[in-house]
Amino acid sequence: MNWVTNRAGRSVPTHRGDQELEPYAGVQGIPPSGRKTGPLIRSASSFPDNGDKRAPSLKEALGRAGLEDGMTLSTHHHFRNGDKVALSLFQAASELGVKGLRWFPSAVFPCHAELIPFLESGVIRSIEGSLNGPLGELASRGDLPEWAVLRSHGGRYRALQDGDVRVDIAVIAAPSADPFGNMTGARGPSACGGLGFAVGDAEYADHVIAVTDHLVPFPLTPWQIAGGYVDQVVEMDQIGDPSQIVSGTTVLTRSPERIRIAELAARFVAETGVMREGWSFQAGAGGISLSFTVYLGELMRERGIRASFARGGSTRYLVEMLEEGLVGTILDGQTFDLEGVRSLGVNPNHVMTSPFTSYSFHSKGRFASMVDCAVVGATEVDLNFNANVVTHSDGKLLHGIGGWQDALFSKCTILAVPSLRNRVPIVRERLTTFCGPGELIDVVVTERGIAINPRREDLLRAAEGRGLPLMSLDQIKADSEALAGGPPEEPRLGDDVIGLVTWVDGSALDVVRRVLPPKPLRS
């Protein structure tokens, strides 16, 4: 394999199999050329005039779709750990005797460990997507035949649009659908809110199968994805476990450390004036992000400040702020609880977005760069504010990228992280895996204190004399290493590459290597 050093100083391969890779060339991205890809042209005469595209079963539908060995199949992850469609899909494929399939999910969850037998039996040859949980462990051990290709949500949409990945059959779990294939995620027993992660698949896959447990008579209105993209519709008993799709109610973290980090991040935006009348913010639904959102609400109420829009991760807390008038509009990428689902279904100011509108880099602009402040996590940060989000410091694949790289483009990007995780300091000399450049990361907030990127003189000035616990990353590193008993040792990695981290423009940012078992720790 040939290697080249990219603009982030990381060594990346020049090729992936036959395909040439572009090395990362900086935040501005490599200018694209050529045209968007497109699916096969179809004729209405091969579809029923009465618009009834129902097939009796998923297995039958796959047969009619011409499922063959080696094809690429895609699914979305709006059902998170309650997804049943991926399993049904590969069970059906297995029953059809098909092998060597490539699975292209928008993300993977622990429930997808159920697919491991299909990897073992050869029904699934490879998984192209971010890997974590049990599948991530398999990948880290070197047990998957092909590289895990890690892309952000925006990057996955771009890969579909640019033709980097061609999907033969997209199977879209639809909480509600009509026989023509108009579908929505906002209604039905398995309602999940939006279907944004399936938009690119609907647009670019050669064949689209909608799978629903709530078929309604035509016309389903309003639809989130139009039936004009859909080839077949299949009814199933249960496409997901509602209790795992969205939580009944989101519960705030009680962890004092997370609460403190959230509180400091909220104070930072308030005191520096990042939070001001008409501003916009983005936060997820994880422990720190959620608490941050709640603190924001309190501060905004106190100071009489309104946000023109917020990007979610929608939860009941964000919905409360919308209904109270503290937030003008929720642009929702993913809905996390029943309140979020309800609000999306009834409130015209709570709308579904997709990676196309919010994130895609090969586009005529996207929402992510318009957001005044985004709060994200990280697994590691180096002294130049570059950061890692996909592996632990021991090199094991831990998370997908999700919207992380895309969200970095906000005007003020805050990494909210504890200074130590399980003894391991988060701030270090060199990243285990490079996922995001320091040019885009403005502030690091830990429970010890706040570090502002020296590139942001404006934020440094705004933070002066505001009573915020400011520290340098060096200081946070030194303090946490003192507590940990020194800096961590190097991870034990093999030479073989098991994953590729791509940047939002599709360029090669870093590689992930096989993790060797630890040396026995004994006398």
């Binding site: 009680r254 962890s255 004092p256 450390e257 609460i259 403190r260 410091s393 021991d394 399980n422 003894r423 391991v424 429970e447 010890r448 507590l483 940990a484 008993g485 020194g486 961590p488 040792e489 991870p491 034990r492 630890p518 040396k519 026995p520 720790l521 004994r522 006398s523």
Partner: protein, 373 residues
């Protein structure tokens, strides 16, 4: 016969379980979540400890979930000493200057046996931390908790927080005080104090060991209430509090929302403390709900208590908010400080009261509380 210390399991974080057995020579095996990243450090710590104990014939099986060095140190010492039936002096902590008069709006109870909860303490923002060896620790874990505590006090920084340790009752507690005399403890909290002689016994132990810590007796019984003034007057007593739960249980009363059942006893103990010149602190607020905590803290302040006990960091900002000085207190404080600065001769007359140093200090404290809002 106990053959292990510490804890392990799927929900355990930042701790290590060490199980020992006899062996021809010293040996160990470690299963750790940070084997790759901190394996050498762990190895070095185990081998250094083994050397200190003369490389005895023991085999240690360790299950580690990211324990920090201070936790490893405490667990190793406990394991070696318990396995060998030894007692060695606990490590010395930082030199502290215990202070009678300081801000104690919130005192957070931290189980001395839990590294995870110990690590939450520095970010809690509490004025004081009470490391609890008594009710929070199961009897069979008290010895290992003592070892963990000594290394905690030596190695973990708690910023400006006052360091308190609640020891066990009676003889066991005196022994703990003797062992912790140089570990960096500002105040020893004595549970279930009923006679001044109990305080005197603790002070005698400190004097003999050359420790400078002050004493914080807890009044938790009817007999203790009767003797509360004498107890508060005893040497080295700087703070006093009422243990509400135990007391009400003894007299057969039940906690109600109006607190009518404890009006008298709160007044009695508060009065004894103030008359003796020690800091009166209210008992622990039961309940995590915002309204419950706020109301309790406000009521405590209005009665004259100078602070409140708590069991979760989330209660602390609410408590501090309740103890902010009122506008009237601020006005008084500013006048006192101005008058004192004008006179600067020591004892002056202002506001119809003798304004000596303690009064000025109190005024300055009130102004500082306002400033750090």
């Amino acid at each position: 016969m106990k053959t292990r210390v510490g804890a392990s399991g799927p929900k355990v974080r930042a701790d290590v379980e060490i199980e020992w057995s006899s062996a021809p020579k010293f040996g160990y095996e470690v299963d750790s979540t940070v084997a790759t990243l901190y394996g050498s450090a762990i190895r070095a710590q185990i081998e250094e400890a083994a050397t200190r104990y003369g490389n005895p014939g023991l085999h240690f099986r360790c299950l580690d979930s990211g324990a920090l060095p201070f936790t490893w140190a405490g667990r190793l010492d406990a394991a070696f000493q318990m396995a060998l039936g030894l007692e060695r002096p606990l490590p010395e902590g930082p030199k502290r200057t215990p202070c009678r008069d300081r801000r104690r709006r919130s005192r957070l109870y931290v189980p001395a046996s839990s590294p995870k909860l110990i690590l939450n303490a520095p970010v809690s923002g509490a004025d004081a931390l009470v490391f609890d060896l008594e009710d929070a620790v199961a009897p069979e874990e008290k010895l290992e908790a003592l070892h963990l505590l000594a290394y905690t006090l030596r190695d973990v920084s708690f910023g400006d927080a006052e360091i308190m340790v609640r020891v066990n009752a009676r003889e066991a507690g005196l022994e703990e005080i003797r062992l912790l005399a140089h570990s960096g403890v500002d105040l020893f909290v004595l549970p279930k104090v009923e006679e001044a002689s109990q305080v005197e016994a603790a002070v005698a132990v400190l004097e003999e060991a050359g420790g400078e810590s002050l004493i914080f007796p807890l009044i938790e019984s009817a007999a203790g209430v009767e003797a509360s003034y004498a107890i508060a007057k005893a040497a080295r007593v700087a703070v006093m509090s009422l243990g509400m739960e135990d007391y009400l249980s003894e007299i057969g009363a039940r906690r109600t929302e109006s607190q009518a059942e404890s009006e008298w006893v709160q007044g009695r103990v508060l009065n004894a403390a103030v008359a003796a010149g020690v800091d009166p602190l209210a008992s622990v607020v039961a309940g995590l709900e915002k309204e419950v905590v706020e109301e309790y803290a406000v009521r405590a302040k209005l009665r004259g208590w100078r602070g409140v006990g708590c069991i979760h960091p989330a209660q602390i900002p609410l408590i501090h908010q309740a103890f902010l000085p009122s506008a009237e207190e601020l006005r008084w404080a500013r006048r006192i400080v101005v008058a004192f600065e004008q006179a600067r001769t020591g004892a002056i007359q202002a506001e119809n009261q003798m304004v000596d140093r303690p009064v000025v200090d109190r005024a300055l404290r009130i102004l500082a509380a306002e400033e750090s809002r």
